[in-house]
């Protein structure tokens, strides 16, 4: 596994760029531990200062240092994405494998529900949830809700894979050697599914973080815990753009875009690594040259 990662890093530009971007962002998040300011305190520095040596990303109209504020924001945002990803992976794995392996009515029922979740417009539902939970809508709650809504698409992928695995010999031998469904799925199928799970994790993080940013920018989340979206929300509250405090919006946006591109590139390169056809294409492309 590590060897593959090293190879990917050495020979796959997408992976390289993505990894570097994420590395930088993770580093930034880690810096939050060294922040001289508490994340929620305002007017700790002079407001509305443009970027300078003292304040590389400038300061907000709330008297916060954009750089240090960002370190907290990106940390929370990242954590959020990871939590949602992990939870929803578990769901889609369980459901996908079960449906794919059991087949029959189990499969039909599960996939019917699955497709329903794919087809339902999520955003209205999320907004509604916000208005139900109000200040109980901490980002933890949001993460759980998103996880509950965000498993469907990948569950389909995993099911498809499980279907193909089902017809392989080791499945039969497994069955004949009297393994329980659980054992079979965990011992025999999981290893084959894992790569796809990793790849989908990236996409899922993109999805969840994207929604989180959007929701909090519209003020539909808990503004007590700083996130990237939350920063943009406050900036809008202070009409930062028309007030000329562009750095308050620009840097969060740049950072979040970097995050998205990083995740996306990782997902792409991993997919390619998993899908032999595209890998062959890559080989061909370079061999032919």
């Amino acid at each position: 596994m590590l060897a593959t990662l090293r190879d990917l890093f050495l020979y796959n530009p997408e992976f390289r760029i993505g990894a570097i971007l994420l590395g930088l962002i993770a580093g930034m998040a880690a810096l939050s531990l060294a922040s001289p300011y508490a994340p929620l305190d305002t007017f700790v520095v002079a407001p509305d200062l443009p970027p300078s040596f003292a304040h590389p990303f400038g300061t907000t109209s709330r008297g916060q240092d954009v750089f240090w504020q960002l370190t907290f924001a990106i940390r929370n945002t990242l954590t959020f994405g990871i939590v949602v990803a992990v939870l929803s992976r578990l769901l889609s794995l369980a459901i996908g494998l079960l449906a794919g392996y059991k087949g029959g009515w189990v499969d039909r029922v599960l996939m019917a529900i699955n497709d329903t979740f794919i087809a339902i417009p999520l955003f209205p539902i999320l907004v509604l949830f916000y208005f139900v939970l109000r200040d109980a809508m901490s980002w933890a709650a949001l993460a759980i809700i998103m996880a509950l809504l965000g498993w469907a698409y990948d569950a389909r992928l995993i099911r498809a894979l499980a279907l193909s695995l089902k017809t392989r010999e080791f499945t039969y031998t497994g069955v004949f050697s009297g393994m329980t469904t659980r054992e079979l799925l965990v011992r025999e199928h999981l290893p084959y599914v894992m790569p796809i799970v990793f790849a989908t994790t990236m996409n899922n993080m993109n999805w969840s973080i994207g929604l989180e940013v959007t929701l909090s920018v519209l003020g539909f989340t808990d503004i007590n815990s700083p996130t990237v979206g939350g920063m943009i929300y406050w900036a809008n509250q202070h009409t930062a753009l028309v007030a000329g405090v562009w750095w308050w919006i620009a840097f969060p946006v740049i950072l979040v875009v970097a995050l998205f591109i990083g995740l996306f590139l990782l997902a792409v390169s991993m997919n390619e690594h998993i899908d032999p056809r595209s890998r062959l294409r890559r080989m061909g492309a370079e061999g032919g040259a």
Binding site: Y11, M283, G288
Partner: protein
């Protein structure tokens, strides 16, 4: 199927005495797979110095176990190569081609002669036809240009041609997935032959079919070939098919030819130890003794053995075989072998 069948097949065979410029001449052709993944370069010498020719109006067979490089050779002479497969040396000359080798011809020139002069029957006809296109449209796509006919006239021609393959014209309106394997294979054959090309290249055309269907398909192929007068380069690992259909036969091993002769000669009197083994291992009616299996497996073409590629498995292997590679040597008119033990020092 047994050579005896082949033998009476032979009686109707018109003999071709005066050889003129062959349809296809392959000279010392080398085609390698060159791959580079995660920085590690890899080279598979799938075809490594092969020479032979296909003459007018003959069915030339190419035999060999899987991974002997025969399909690659076919791709090479059909100019059907995509990376990572590439020709690294030698020529494959088509009579009706200006360029001195297929692989130097411009894509325009190739496009010109494809299907009119040179056509191809693909292995695994299951996937050779566009799944979302009706058969009729495939015929239009493939042949209309060359037949220079359209509408009713074209249709009539296609239907006539199909009937030669005992296909009803209703198949024209079918989608590939609606046809049986045999029908689909015949459709591809019809596609490949409708323009009466000088050379048809067929890669395992009947492998996917069951024996009964196989037989009539083979018959149809032969009939078509006879009355169209085009030459056929047929590749299959199934010696039975060769025995039944081909005029001349070459046997390939580890990316090289090891023996070439008129089919009945080769079956009757194989020279090369490998050829001997192949023929010997053919089942014959009423025999008891189990066949002696050949030790070892086919060579890894990434690192082929030095010298004769067969020597690790060869019963007659001698010191020289480990060092030099034997070349094809004439042991009789129309009969060439690449083996020191047989052809002596050539």
């Amino acid at each position: 199927m047994s050579p005896t069948v082949a033998a009476n097949g032979e009686t109707q065979r018109p003999t071709t005495e005066t050889p003129r410029e062959p349809v296809l001449r392959v000279d010392d052709l080398r085609a390698y797979y060159r791959t580079r993944h995660f920085g590690v370069g890899r080279e598979v010498k799938a075809v490594d110095g092969v020479s032979f020719e296909v003459r007018d109006n003959e069915i030339y067979g190419l035999a060999g176990e899987s991974s002997s490089g025969k399909s690659t050779l076919l791709k090479a002479v059909a100019a059907a190569m995509r990376p990572p497969l590439q020709v690294v040396g030698g020529t494959a000359r088509l009579r009706f081609l200006q360029a001195k080798s297929l692989h130097e011809a411009s894509s325009a020139e190739l496009a010109q002669l494809r299907w009119r002069k040179l056509s191809y029957i693909m292995q695994g006809s299951m996937s050779a036809l566009n799944p979302v296109r009706r058969v009729r449209r495939s015929f239009e796509d493939f042949a209309a240009r060359h037949l220079r006919e359209t509408g009713a006239a074209f249709e009539a021609k296609v239907v006539a041609h199909l009937s030669q393959l005992r296909l009803d014209k209703s198949v024209l309106d079918a989608f590939p997935h609606e046809l049986s394997g045999g029908m689909r294979q015949r459709v591809t054959i019809a596609l490949a032959t409708i323009c009466r090309p000088d050379l048809v290249i067929a890669d395992e055309p009947t492998t996917a079919l069951d024996v009964v269907v196989q037989k009539d398909v083979l018959d149809m192929i032969r009939d078509l070939q006879r009355q169209s007068g085009s030459s056929l380069l047929l590749v299959t690992h199934d010696l039975g098919v060769h025995a039944y259909l081909t005029d001349r036969l070459a046997i390939m091993y580890g990316g090289r030819l090891v023996e070439e002769a008129p089919t009945e000669a080769l079956f009757g009197n194989p020279q090369h130890p490998y050829a001997k083994h192949l023929i010997a291992s053919l089942p014959r009616i009423g025999e008891e003794a189990p066949k002696a299996a050949l030790a070892g497996g086919p060579p890894n073409l990434a690192e082929p053995p030095a010298g004769c590629r067969f020597h690790p498995r060869c019963p007659l292997a001698m010191e020289r075989c480990r060092r030099e590679a034997p070349v094809m040597t004439r042991v009789a008119p129309n009969h060439r072998v690449a083996c020191f033990a047989v052809a002596g020092s050539a």
